[in-house]
Symmetry: C2
Subunit: 410 residues, 2 copies
């Protein structure tokens, strides 16, 4: 069995490294003779021990019938999508770590794979080296998955951990994450929540059977979180985490959102710190199951890609459980109609009595060094639109709303 690896960046070079490091074991586990025939990259790698495998022309892979498994680790939507599609249409199985690709085109690529009796695997696209895709559709097959919630982005979790543990400002923590290589020079995909959004889309699509597209999912990042918010979360009894979440509603609909949330200290998600990820899956039979580990990084991600290669090598046809239908772009219900408890932080005089009139029952929060004109509280469950309307009224009455974060229950 001949394999092509498309892309030789961080993950791609890791795939080659892990593959040859575990070569004998992998052959034993797959029961197949396997080797990497091509590595596709536009750059030159004259020092690589595998330099004779490098090519720059995708059509060599596409048109080589010997190549039956292709690992796409280039990232980005184009040309990854075009290449993956072409490979599947030629009857080659494809494995990928590309969350952008799966979140945008998963249903279509799974359908094409099925039509050609091959596989499209993407264990590495969510949670890096954490097993999550396969457990969701295989091990939890006898469950109805009702809810998924996760810390899906290591960069933002690192930043929040620094803010919580060391009272570092968002800006300083981001700078440190960049220096350590955890954040890109342009960190917006991480700190604005898009990366977490893509991942919750993939998990929700698989769990609920219909494609949830990123543009359907209301997404808020962590750029507005302050150390004052962190302090009030502590007083409330928890921490602030960026949570991607999706839920099956009673009417058959789906709710999905990415936003920061207060998470109680007692939650398994509260102790997921630094660059680690944690994913909670709520099944009707099994209850809450949580998966924890490194959500990114060269070797963890590469090892998930290579495990997919092994599984593709063993497979005798398309997976029947790794699939979902195309969505119509309206799978997710209107987020403003969903409910949550809320934390608010205000500046300006506002009596507890006035707050109760606007928000219903509230619980006041306190922090060290709290200015006299600062008020913080959590509400009970409110519809998003009602909470927004009440906040608007506060503003109209002269209060400045300094912070607003959802209070979650996982």
């Amino acid at each position: 069995m001949k394999i092509a690896v498309m892309g030789h960046g961080v993950v791609g070079s890791g795939v080659v490294e892990v593959f040859y490091q575990h070569y004998e074991n992998l052959k034993r586990k797959s029961g197949r003779e396997m080797d990497i025939k091509y590595i596709l990259d536009l750059r030159d790698f004259p020092e690589s021990p595998y330099r004779e495998k490098f090519i720059k022309d995708f059509s060599l892979i596409e048109n080589d019938p010997e190549v039956t498994i292709v690992a796409e680790v280039m990232g980005g939507l184009h040309p990854a999508y075009d290449y993956v599609r072409a490979c599947l249409e030629k009857g080659k199985s494809v494995v990928t770590s590309n969350k952008e690709l799966v979140a945008a085109k998963g249903a279509e690529l799974l359908r094409i794979a099925r039509e050609h009796n091959v596989n499209f695997f993407f264990e590495a696209s969510v949670g890096g080296g954490i097993p999550i895709i396969r457990p969701l559709h295989l091990c939890l097959a006898a469950n109805e998955i009702n809810e998924i919630a996760g810390i899906l982005n290591g960069t933002t979790n690192f930043i929040l951990t620094k803010m919580i543990r060391e009272s570092m400002s968002f800006e300083d923590a981001l700078k440190m994450a960049q220096e350590l290589g955890y954040a890109e020079r342009d960190p917006s995909a991480d700190v604005e929540g898009q990366d977490a959004c893509r991942k919750i889309c993939i998990l929700a699509s698989l769990a609920f059977g219909r494609h949830v597209y990123p543009q359907e999912v209301h997404t808020e990042g962590i750029t507005k979180i302050t150390l004052e918010d962190v302090a009030y979360a502590g007083n409330w009894g928890g921490v602030i985490k960026l949570i991607g979440r999706a839920r099956r509603l009673e009417d058959g609909g789906v709710s999905a959102m990415v936003s920061p949330g207060f998470i109680h200290f007692g939650s398994q998600l509260a102790s997921v710190d630094d660059v680690f990820n944690g994913i909670l899956v709520r099944g009707d039979a099994t209850g809450d199951v949580v998966f924890y580990g490194k959500g990114a990084g060269k070797l963890p991600t590469a090892s998930a890609v290579v495990a997919d290669i092994v599984d593709a090598a063993k497979a005798t046809g398309s997976s029947r459980s790794l699939c979902w239908e195309e969505g119509d772009g309206h799978t997710v219900c209107d987020w403003k109609e969903t409910s949550s408890a809320f934390y608010f932080r205000l500046r300006g005089g506002c009596s507890e009595e006035a707050l109760r009139r606007l928000f219903g029952p509230v619980k006041m929060l306190h922090r060290d060094g709290q200015p006299q004109d600062e008020t913080a509280f959590v509400t009970g469950m409110l519809k998003e639109k009602d909470a927004a309307a009440a906040a608007e009224q506060l503003r109209a009455s002269g209060c400045a709303v300094l912070g607003s974060i959802r209070v979650l229950d996982y």
Copy 2:
């Protein structure tokens, strides 16, 4: 595809319930028409909606060529072993939740399954509804697993949680566990650690490729843990958990043990409370991955059995990665030669200076209400035999060793 379910106790009745509750989904996921043809139990269930499926004679299952998948949920070694073996030899796939069976006979039954090109699956035997067996051999296939450590028994974890959180005595907590149905009337298999031992044997066998038998694994339960020990663990900075663990040694050997251990508050295992289980897997590429969820209970365990049924229905031959070799009974190295840090609690005069002479550097611990003649401390890393010898010298010098617990690093 016709299925037989052997045993109609807690898990067995759950299997039938989960199977019919998710019937349509399961057929879709497996791509097969499936039904339960027989339920084997010596008791009568005249009220069951499935009463016409009940049989008392195993040979009906054994000799019915229509039955291709058998779920063994009777528990115990006999007649489960004999039945499972007979089914595999007749070319039927078997799925089981029976940890005693897998820990004692796993290698043999996997071999027989392979010889008949069928499968022997046992996802439910460890961690109840937590996906762990399949993630270990499929998702982490491109890793060398170097270490596994887990809270593998919910009953003892419930008892320890009550002792830690509510300062309940061991006896009272055990009584409560029995009243809540978490512990058997004879709780010895749980509180003496044998249940955890069977589970770490299964995980170690799969991870290291050679059968680790329960009798090879030094096993200590939690019956000697006192509230004083719990208090000192808190002062040290952690909690006491019953940990089953196994490690690949540099010389190719394996160490394995079940015992209580001090676990640092920062560990993912420290926050696994009540009847929940948590399993940490350390891979060379992926780093630490942790799986968390309900380790027992009717529906979680049943859902894992049913997921195995679905996977057996989809399979076109034996799994190549779910396998290990027979052991010679000496796979595990001599536990007295392994090393650990230790906590000791003593009564009787013993200066810090004298302790240092016996144990090397020690860190003294304290608790509220500590009697003047009570001393508690943790050591650095020591060989088990050296720690035991030093403790013996303490006793010879007139000290009473009231408690001794390993200090673990997960």
